[in-house]
Each structure stands twice: as structure tokens, then as C-alpha cells.
Amino acid sequence: MTVTSFILKNALRNGRRAFLTVWSVAVSSALLVTLMTLERELTVPPEAAGASLRIIARNKVSLTQPLPAKQLGTIQAIPGIVTVTPFTYFGGLYGDEEFTSYPQFAVDPVGFEGMLVESKVSEGSFADWMKDRNTCLVGRDTMDRYGLKVGDPMKFRGTIYPCDLDLRVAAVFEGTVDDRGVFFHHKLLDELLGDPGTVGTWYLRAESAEVADDVIQRLNAAFANTAAEVRAESERAFQMGFVSMWGNVSQLIGSVNLVVVFTLALVTVSTMSMAVRERFRELAVLKALGFHRGELFGFILAEGFGLSCLGGLLGVVGAWAFWTGIDVGKLSGGVLVIFEVTLRNMALAGLVASVLGVVAAIGPAWTVNRMSVVEGLKTLD
């Protein structure tokens, strides 16, 4: 019998316990991965290509406060800007839904060209959409969600604006970070609202990353001390500001994580001490046969480490397979979008499980270390 097979035999001699230990570690690790992914989802927005070039300017008062449409002329005069479009969140409800999870934005198609999606249009064409103000440009995920095709109608009831949209799908885009959005003509919104002369935000693109900061500063300065002061920031900074509104929710998740790790530790520690206590006599026999303390320690360590590693592996891979396999967006009613289980989080959870396996072996190993052979041989059970 080799050392490896000895350890393996020992670990599996009580099959039920090995099974229960492995699975409780697996469930806890899966939970840990899930919670870390949730925290990431809430605090780290997905980064889109070219985000460093794109700038969002909103009213300094808050995002919900509109900006005057006449600011456009001043903005266009700022050097370093390639293109600019009004960007107004419509917040409508699709059909008779009570909660629609994707945004609809009113944009100026001319200014919108070169911002986000024009190169990703897979069906219909960007030009078709530009031509007809009653049409919309829709993300692939949303098309699939309702089984829509190009040319189909799309209706939204306004919750923020006192008007409804009656659109037709002109083109579909896919392959962006978030393939859910619906874009329509700002002119249509203006028409429906009786031309209020306002926009939600301005969305613009700088010539290069070097001038982006400069553009932001000029934008902020251009409207300082006017009735509608502007707060311009990079798309990334804007998103980070958005997620910081979640408040203390991420802290809450962090503390739940700690509790999960704590229970994980309890499970492995108590299992290992049970396993060792059960075979105190055998370990004494091994000692009497001439095995060193270090070797005994190695046996226990390898067993604890092996079991919790196996559990961790099962849990982490299981969580990954689960969250990659199901449609998180649909399940959470659209609150969670990407829910990407990153390699980093998987590695972290696996690491926690395996470290706990080592930690759990230390206590029992210490006891075995100190016991005298005679004492050990005397133990009954």
C-alpha cells in the first residue's frame, strides 16, 4: 500500500461522511461564488470598448433633471468632439408588462452614428432606421425575448413621459456589451410631447483619449453659472456613480460572505476532528510502528485538504455551470444583466475552500502530535 492509497482509503473509509463533507463544502463554495458574482454585478459595471472616448453630460442637479435642447450649439462648438447626440431615457413599459427591464433611449440618429452600435447592425440597416422617424433600432436580446423580426411593431407605454410610443423595428444590433437597448428618434419624442425643448442627457464622443479630459472640463465650464449647469464625465465614471447609488447593499453582501466562510470553516473543522477522534487508536498504532509526527500530520492534512479541495472544486465548477447555463436576466426580472462568474472569483472561492481544509487539519493534527502512544492505545472510541 502506497502512502497515497493509504490516505485515499482513510478519507473514503467512512463514505457517508466523505460525501457529506464534500457536499457541504461544495454548497458553501457555490454560494460564495454566487455572492461574489452578485457583488461584482452590483459594483463593477461591464466595460464597453471605446468607453474612454465616450462622455455623458447630465444636469448637475441630478440625472432626472432635463437639460435645455438649445445647449447643442454650444457643445458642438467645443473642439475635440467628434459627434454628439441627445440621450433621453424613456423608461416605457412594453405591451402590457408591468416591469420592463431594458432601457429605451431617444437619440438623434445622425449624432448617434459613430457612438455605439452602427458597426454592429446585423439585420436591417442603420440607414433604414435613420430615414424613418417612427422606427427603432433594437438589441438582439430584446428581439429574441419577444420573438420579433425586422418590420414588426413595438409599442411602449410611457411612465415618465405622458405619451406612448408606437414604433416599428428597422434594424437589429448585436455583439455590444449590453444587447438589450431600444433606440428611437428624439424628434418623435419631441413631437409627441409638443416640443418641450429639453433633453435628458447629452452623449458625445471625443476625438481621442488624450483630449477626452479636456472636453469634459470645457463642457463643465461652458455651462457654469447658467440655469442648467452640466456635469460631464466619462461613460465609465458615470456608470460607477450609478452603481454607487446601491448604497450599503454591497457591504451587506460582503458580511454575508464572511458568514458563509465561517460556516464553511466550522463544517470542515468539525469533520476533521471527528475523523481523527474516531481513529485515535490507529494513529497511536502508526506512531508505535515508527511513523514520525510529521508523517502523521501529513496524513491528516492531506485528507482534510483533499476533501475540502474536492468540495471546493465541485462547488465552484457547479456554480459556474449553473450561472452560465441559465438566463439570469430573465430569472431576476432584468435586475441582473451580465452575472459573469469570473475566473478570479472562482479561484478565490476555491482558495478559501482549500485553505480551510488545511486550517481544519491543524487542530486535530496538533492533538495527535501531543498524544503519547500509550494514551492513544488506551482510547476506546
Binding site: R16, R17, L20, T21, W23, S24, V27, S28, A30, L31, T34, L35, L38, N59, K60, V61, S62, L63, T64, Q65, G91, F99, R157, G158, T159, I160, P162, N225, T226, A227, A228, E229, R231, G241, S244, M245, W246, G247, N248, V249, L252, V256, V259, V260, F262, T263, L266, V267, V269, S270, T271, S273, M274, E278, S332, G333, V335, L380, D381
Partner: protein, 417 residues
């Protein structure tokens, strides 16, 4: 916020726990189970007992705390409003801040005869405007949206929940505001004497209010028409009125809903707010999922402990059988032992969760798109749920080990060392 009702609930919880313990004990004694033997075991094997108790305690604590968060958010909306008031918003809007009511509509509505009048003969109706203002957090974690409500003097009268705790009410035209005390704890410049910057406008805080744990505890109030002027809003957001009595309330609601020119929706104020619970839903779902996942882990852990406990007591179980205890008795005994262990864990978890009660924090409210301040609410019924949850884990976790104990052949059991 310990109301009379809450005391009763506490009393009921404690009574229920004591009575069920008593009943189990009494029944066990009556049918002659060696219950003391099992209870002493919990103490004798203290090492594995502590591990199980702590594990189950942690699971119960997480479950109860998450539910308490959802409760706190729900309590905000559930506590808000006065049942004698009617709130009127635009048809199709999902929140007050997304609603629009024109001045014409207000003028028409104001003089409906169903609306009560005060001593001066003015209708008890308040046209209000809801705005969102970005403000820096005190803890330095960036900025968040806060809700600014433009109210009229009638609006203040209509809300009996709100009372001034310091300073004075705002005077129209002077850029003065009153902040909710709870909000002021979280945002910079919201204290009396502080300044709130809203774009180019500076608003001075002259008073603080408290609103009995309602949604108004997350708001800043100022004069409605001044707010409309500063923030360039042509329209109001909502109208709050007080009908003469229940009968006229029904008439008024029907009349507003039926009028095609108005295109407005009227609802009892308390009912309107009670429905604004979208934010609590995902938290409840998460609490449920976490509860299930963690309890699976806890059941495995409890099973592990109980199996080990049974295995090392083979001879003792044999002895019990020789003394004449039936298999069923042995099963029930081990189940009770598991339930006791997990009840201890449950009590521990509930105690930990209870210590977070009243903890004040804030999160983004999906509907108003602004920060809503809420308190963790660990109520007796939640703790009762936590205890039941714990007992469930214990019983399920010890069922298989208990059956195993009962199946041990007597002779073999006695021979084993």
C-alpha cells in the same frame, strides 16, 4: 418603535417556544423516552455540539437579517400616508416622481365638492412636485440621489405623520428647505444651517423633521411653487387631497378615474404607497435563495454531526434497546436531540440578528430613483420563522442518522467497543 402590538407578539413568541418545548418534553416523558439521556449527550459532546450550534446559528442569522432588510424597506412604504387622504397621479406613471399633473388639472380638481375645507374655507388639497437632487454622502462614498418634495402649507397639514424636530418650517421664496432627520444623518450639508447645492441654486436647511418611519423620512421639503420655479418645472407631480368622509372618498376616486379629460388616477394615499414595494422584492428573492442554499449546507453539516454521534454511541443505543426501548422510541429520541441542538443554534442566530434591529441604512429605491433610508426590522414573527427554520434543519439533518441508530442490531451493538 416598540408598540403595544409588538409586545404582544414578543409575548406570543416566547410563549410558543416555551409551550412547544414543554409539550415535547411532556409527551416524551409520558410515552417513556430516555429523553434525558439524549439531552445530556448534547452537553457531553460539547465540541461537536458547539460546531453544529454555531453553524446553524450563522445560517439562521443570515436568513433573518436579510428578511429584516426586506421588512425594513417594506415598512417604509407600508407606513406611509394617512388612510383619510387620496393621492392623485397621472395614469400610467409608476411613481410620484414620474407623474405629471398640470396646473389646469389642479384648478379643476381643487374645487370638487367632495374635498374637505379647513376653517378658512380653503380646500384641503395640495399640489406637489417631486424632484431628484444629487448630493454627496457623509461617509465619502460618492454622491447619491435624494428626493425633494415641493409642498404647500395644506400639504404639511395633510400629513399628520410628519413633525418638526428642530428649527422651523421653510418660508416660501427664501430658498429654504426642511430635511428629514434620518436623511440628514447620511448626507453632507443636510443638517440645520447646512446648504444643499442643486446645480447653481443653494438651498438653506432651516429645519428638520421626523415622519415615523415612513417614506417621508427620506425626503427634503420646500415650497412647491418655489421648487417649480427653481427647477424649471411647468407641471406638478401629484395632488394630495382629503375628502370629507369615506363616502365622498369613493365618489371622488370614481369621479377622477372616470374623467377622460383628466387622465389621472386617484387612490387612497396609504394604498398607493403600500404598492410601492418593488425594491424589496429582489431582496426577498435573494433571502429565499440564500436561505435554501445555506440550509442545504447546514443540513449536511448537521447530518455529519449526528451520524458521528450515532456511530460512536453504538453500544449505548444497544443498551437502550436491551432495556426495552423500542426502535420508534430511539428514532424519536435522536430527532429530539437534533432538534434541541438546532434550536440552540436558532436562538443564537436570532439573538445575533436581533442585535441589528433598528440599524439604519439606505439603498436605491427603484421607483423614485432616489436613496431611501430604512431600518432593519427584526420582528417577533421573523424570529419565529428563524426558529422554525432551525428546527427544520435539525429534524431533517438527524432523521437519517436516527433511523440508522434504530436499525443497529442489539447483539452487534453490545459487542462493539
Amino acid at each position: 418603535m416598540e408598540t403595544q402590538g409588538e409586545w404582544k407578539a414578543w409575548l406570543m413568541l416566547v410563549t410558543a417556544v416555551l409551550v412547544s418545548c414543554g409539550v415535547v418534553w411532556g409527551l416524551a416523558r409520558a410515552v417513556g423516552l430516555p429523553i434525558q439521556y439524549n439531552l445530556r449527550n448534547v452537553v457531553v459532546r460539547w465540541r461537536s455540539s458547539i460546531a453544529t450550534v454555531l453553524g446553524i446559528g450563522a445560517v439562521v442569522a443570515v436568513f433573518v437579517v436579510l428578511r429584516a432588510v426586506a421588512r425594513g424597506i417594506e415598512a417604509n412604504s407600508g407606513n406611509t400616508g394617512d388612510p383619510v387622504n387620496v393621492l392623485i397621479v397621472r395614469k400610467g406613471s409608476q411613481a410620484e416622481s414620474g407623474s405629471l399633473v398640470s396646473r389646469d388639472q389642479f384648478q379643476t380638481l381643487r374645487f370638487f365638492e367632495e374635498i374637505q375645507r379647513n376653517e378658512q374655507g380653503e380646500p384641503m388639497a395640495s399640489a406637489e412636485v417631486m424632484l431628484v437632487v444629487n448630493a454627496p454622502r457623509r461617509d465619502g462614498t460618492g454622491e447619491a440621489n435624494t428626493l425633494l418634495r415641493g409642498v404647500t402649507p395644506r400639504g404639511v397639514d395633510l400629513r399628520s405623520q410628519v413633525r418638526l424636530t428642530g428649527g422651523r418650517w421653510f418660508e416660501p421664496g427664501k430658498r429654504e428647505v426642511v430635511t428629514a432627520q434620518r436623511l440628514a444623518q447620511r448626507f453632507d450639508g443636510f443638517e440645520i444651517g447646512g446648504t444643499i447645492k442643486a446645480g447653481p441654486t443653494q438651498l438653506r436647511v432651516v429645519g428638520q423633521m421626523e415622519a415615523g418611519g415612513s417614506a417621508f423620512d427620506s425626503e427634503v421639503w420646500m415650497d412647491a411653487d418655489e421648487a417649480r420655479a427653481i427647477f424649471d418645472r411647468d407641471q406638478y407631480s401629484s395632488i394630495l387631497v382629503r375628502p370629507r368622509d369615506e363616502e365622498s372618498m369613493a365618489v371622488l376616486i370614481g369621479r377622477v378615474d372616470a374623467d377622460p379629460r383628466l387622465s389621472l388616477r386617484a387612490e387612497r394615499e396609504t394604498e398607493y404607497y403600500a404598492k410601492q414595494t418593488m425594491t424589496a422584492k429582489p431582496i426577498k428573492v435573494v433571502a429565499g435563495l440564500l436561505g435554501v442554499a445555506m440550509s442545504v449546507g447546514a443540513v449536511f453539516a448537521a447530518m455529519n454531526t449526528m451520524y458521528a454521534s450515532v456511530a460512536s454511541r453504538t453500544r449505548e443505543v444497544g443498551t437502550l434497546r436491551v432495556l426495552g426501548y423500542s426502535r420508534t422510541a430511539v428514532v424519536i429520541c435522536f430527532l429530539i436531540e437534533g432538534a434541541c441542538l438546532s434550536t440552540l443554534g436558532g436562538i443564537l442566530g436570532c439573538a445575533v440578528a436581533r442585535s441589528t434591529d433598528g440599524f439604519s441604512t439606505g439603498t436605491l429605491d427603484f421607483q423614485s430613483f432616489a436613496e431611501s433610508v430604512f431600518q432593519f426590522r427584526v420582528t417577533p414573527d421573523l424570529m419565529g420563522m428563524g426558529l422554525l427554520f432551525a428546527v427544520g434543519i435539525g429534524v431533517i439533518g438527524s432523521l437519517l442518522p436516527a433511523i440508522r441508530a434504530a436499525r443497529i442490531p442489539v447483539i452487534a451493538a453490545l459487542k462493539s467497543i
